[in-house]
Structure formats: structure tokens, C-alpha cells
Amino acid sequence: MIAPLRALTRPQGGIAGLWLILVIVAAVFAPLLTPYAYDIQNLPNAYQPASGAHWLGTDEFGRDLLTRLIYGARTSLSVSATAISISVLCGMVLGAAAAWFGGWLDRIVTMTVDLTWSFPEILIALILVAIIGPGTTGVMIAIAVAYLAQFTRLTRAQIMTLKGETFIEAARSLGAGNAHILFRHLLPNALAPVLVSAMLATGDAIILEATLGFFGLGAQPPVPSWGGMMSAGSALIFKAPWVIVFPGLAVAITVVAINLYGDALIAELDIRARLRRDA
């Protein structure tokens, strides 16, 4: 666990890491940090621009925008992170199984992955949400499935290259079984690139979650999410542009931060070549 900390000592990684820590801490301690409630309407107070009382202004129901932004971070981050975690777990199992056992299993997995990979994630997610129904659960599953191909592909490629290496041959000649080699040797060695690309994908997932939210398919009101807030804000773009500007900035800055920190981590772990081979 040294590399993630060392990445913070790089100039870009440090600034980006600080922002991410700030957002995560804000999301976790949201009730302690915000003087307002995210869902109580105060109509006389609607459409206030930024002021001392409301740093980022208020929305069409007079709710404090900063409060909703911080609570929105809770939804957006947790949905994206959970979705990617599910995706990584399933992708690693599928990819490892395909690479390890080969044959028809590998062929089917590879074909399915190649097929879904060339379709934009937003389309896959849109259709899945249509099937499952709107709401955080639907979005989570949709995002998880949309990114499954990427992690399956990456894990499979990692295992394929590791499979031929001498230490695996050695373990096998010592009589280690399939499961032992797979879980003790192959997966741990494939872990670093997969985890880093999972982190970068979390950034994409935040955008995807926001897009689904924008279509009104994400967290349902009054629970705020960054995408949902922008969905409401798009109707107010002439009257109160700040309602849409700030959530979008939150998304953009957070995703930039994830990318910069991810770059620092890649440099720190020295795995650029392993990631690019499968890009």
C-alpha cells in the first residue's frame, strides 16, 4: 500500500489526491458539514444566486445548492464505485476463467466481450436501465454490465501473458493445482493493472451515472445526485444557470482528479506498458 501514498507526493498526484480525499470526506460526513437539509423546500428562497448564506446559491425549490452537491457526491460516488467494484469482480472471474481454461469458454467470452466492447457504454446502460427500471439499483447494475467487457478483456490479457512465465511453470511442476495457481499466483500478479484501470473507469462511471441521471433514470427525487441536479438545472438554464454549472464542474473536476491521480499511480507502479498493451 506504499504506491498509492507515494503517488500523493508527485505534484499532480498530490493536488488530485487532495481533491478526491476532500470529496470523499465531504460525502461521508455530509450531515455534519451542511447547515441545511437537502430535501426541505423553501420556495420564497428559490433562485438565489451565490451569497454568504448560500455559497453556491439555491435551486428552484429554494434548497441550498452546496448542501445538495455534497449529498449528491454521496450518491454519485457510491453508485459509481459500487458498480465498478461489481464489474471488476465479475470481470476478473470471467477473464481469468477464459484465459485459464481456454477452449470454447474462452471463445464465447472473447466473442461476447468483443461484441459489447464496440458498443458505447451509454447505450448498453440506457437499455439495461429500461429493463430494470430507473433508480440507483438499476443504474448500478447497468454501469456494472457496461464496463464488464473492459475488465474481462484486461484480466484475460494479463493472465494470458503471466501464464507463460517461469514462476507459473515452477508452481505447476511442484504439483500446485489449478485453483492454487489461479488464486495464489496469477490473480495477485494481474491485480495492479486491473485495479488502476478500475480506478480510471470509476471516473468514466461518474460521467455515465450523471448522464443517466440527466435522463431522469438515476436516483429519484428528492435524493440528489449530480446527474439528477443537472437534469433539473437544464430547464432552468436561462433563469438560474448556476444550478447546472456547479454539479457539472463537480463531475469534471472529480474526473480530472481521478485521471491525474491515476496517472501518478501508474507512474509509481511502473505499469504503463502493461496497461497500454490492452488498450
Partner: protein, 308 residues
């Protein structure tokens, strides 16, 4: 080359069948019965049954699929349940808008992306490189619908240069094309830069220098040619992504097109239209990969040799 092309086209057939099965079956898992939307409340079961027969929804799924596929291959995409018009008409109306938008966005992202990538690569690790790559990173992390709205806010609302929405005249295309194109541009610029830097390190480049060619000529006539091969390949693979971008952007700018049609039909559970939209997008993706393969063969004699 020709036998390869024929083989490559034949390979599209099973892919098309697989995609059509997926598209057809996925939609039948969508909860909510479109028939319910059509019937007046309190309609008789007979009226319902009659409706189901009319849309062929009473038959078993594999049979429905067979009928649907047969019709599709004859160019009959069915009748829209909500709009009560031939789906082919709706698609024919929407498709040109999306093609124009997607095509222009592709052109924009390729041209601007390659230029930025070249400038960044030529100034590697100096300020133009850092500025471009920083801008590219920021550009690729903004949700496209948000970027679209911000562009509207700046250029339509504040400056009044372009219309806020709609599809009248070339002015209405500028902001949507920019919105989709910026993401693609970021991707193209990144790949161009990396492949140019990678290609500059190859052996043959040293020999070009030893032949006395000017560095700029080496970069633009030789290194860039090599760098463009992966750019074209990846762009072709990502044509689907550009269309995906078109889906959201069409909605934001309230433009007619496949995206708006798809989103509207999804919310109305209008199966035949959704199926047709997805089929169009899938075909665009397949043709994109095909185009990528052909372009790669045209650009690289080694690939051509491997194919024939």
C-alpha cells in the same frame, strides 16, 4: 485483397445475426406492456387479444423473431405502436440528421485531434505539449450533455451566435458538433501524440535523419503516416461511441435524430422503433470496424500483404 473483402463481409453475417437476437430478446424483457398504453382503460379482453394479434405479440418468441428478422431483411421494420406509422419512415426521417451530426463530429475530432496531437508530439514535454494535453484531459472528462448546455449558455444565451436548439440551418449544427467532437478530439489527440512519439523512436527514423532530411519533413511525411494507422483503427472502432455521444447531444439540443427517437421510444415502450434504432446503431458500429480494417489495409502495405 478482393477475396479478403468478400470473406470479411461474410463474417459480418453471423455477427449481424447475433446482434439481432440480442436486440430482439433484450427488449422483450423490458417491463411494461405497450398494448396497455394503446388500450383505453376498461377495454375488453377481446379488444386486447385483437390488438396482440395485430402486432404479432400472441405468437411464441422464436416465431416472433423469425417473422421480425424476415421483415427486417426485406426492409420492413414494422409499425410504430405509438406513432402508428411505418418504423422505416421514422428512421428515414431521423437517420440523415444523425448521420450529418455524427459525420461532421467525426471529421472535426479527426482533423483537430490530429493537428493537436502533432503539435503536442513535436513539442514533447514543453509547454505547448503540456497545455494541449491538459486541455485534452479536461475536455474528455466533461459529461457531453453538460458541455452542450454550457456551450448553449455561452454561445446561444450570452452571445446569441447560434440557435439554442432545433435543426434549421448550419448554425444549429455548430454547437452539437462541437459538443460531440470535443470528446473524440481528445481521444484522437492523445493517440496521435503517443503513436508519433513511439514512431519517432524507430530505427528507420534514425536513417531518415542520416539521409539529411529535415526534421519537420521526417515528422510530417514519415512519422505521422505511421502514427495515423492506429488513429484510424481506433477511430473506426469508436464510431459507436460517437453515435452514443450523438444520442445524448441530440436530446440536449432538441434535435431530431436516432438518439431522440430512441430515448422517446424507450420511455414509451415502443418496441419496434427501439429495435430499429438499435439495429441502425449496431450496423453503424459493424460498418465502422469494417471501414477501419479497409483503411488500415490501404495505409499499410504489410497489412495488405498479410491479407492476400
Amino acid at each position: 485483397m478482393l477475396p479478403w473483402l468478400v470473406k470479411r463481409l461474410l463474417m459480418l453475417v453471423p455477427v449481424f445475426l447475433a446482434v439481432s437476437v440480442v436486440i430482439f430478446s433484450i427488449l422483450h424483457f423490458i417491463p411494461g406492456d405497450p398494448i396497455d398504453n394503446l388500450l383505453k382503460i376498461g377495454s375488453s379482453p377481446e379488444a386486447r387479444a385483437e390488438m396482440e394479434v395485430r402486432y404479432g405479440l400472441d405468437k411464441p418468441l422464436p416465431v416472433q423473431y423469425g417473422i421480425w428478422l424476415g421483415n427486417v431483411l426485406q426492409g420492413d421494420l414494422g409499425t410504430a405502436i405509438v406513432a402508428r406509422r411505418p418504423v422505416a419512415d421514422l428512421i428515414a426521417q431521423a437517420l440523415p440528421h444523425s448521420l450529418r451530426l455524427g459525420g461532421l463530429a467525426l471529421l472535426f475530432s479527426t482533423v483537430v485531434g490530429v493537428v493537436l496531437g502533432v503539435v503536442a508530439a513535436l513539442n514533447r514535454d514543453r509547454w505547448p505539449d503540456r497545455a494541449i494535453m491538459g486541455g485534452v484531459l479536461v475536455g474528455s472528462t466533461m459529461p457531453s450533455f453538460w458541455l452542450g448546455l454550457i456551450l448553449i449558455l455561452i454561445f446561444s444565451v450570452s452571445l446569441g451566435w447560434f440557435p439554442v436548439s432545433g435543426a434549421r440551418g448550419w448554425q444549429s449544427l455548430v454547437l452539437p458538433v462541437l459538443t460531440i467532437g470535443l470528446g473524440g478530439m481528445a481521444l484522437v489527440a492523445r493517440i496521435t501524440r503517443v503513436s508519433m512519439i513511439e514512431a519517432s523512436g524507430r530505427d528507420f527514423v534514425t536513417l531518415l535523419h542520416a539521409k539529411g532530411l529535415s526534421p519537420l519533413r521526417i515528422q510530417l511525411r514519415h512519422v505521422l503516416r505511421h502514427a495515423l494507422i492506429p488513429v484510424v483503427t481506433i477511430l473506426a472502432l469508436r464510431i459507436g461511441w460517437i453515435l452514443g455521444g450523438a444520442v445524448t447531444v441530440e436530446v440536449v439540443f432538441a434535435r431530431p435524430g436516432l438518439g431522440t427517437l430512441l430515448i422517446k421510444s424507450l420511455s414509451q415502450h415502443d418496441y419496434p422503433v427501439v429495435q430499429a434504432c438499435l439495429l441502425m446503431l449496431a450496423m453503424a458500429v459493424m460498418l465502422g470496424t469494417l471501414l477501419g480494417d479497409i483503411l488500415q489495409a490501404l495505409m499499410d502495405p504489410r497489412v495488405r500483404a498479410a491479407l492476400s
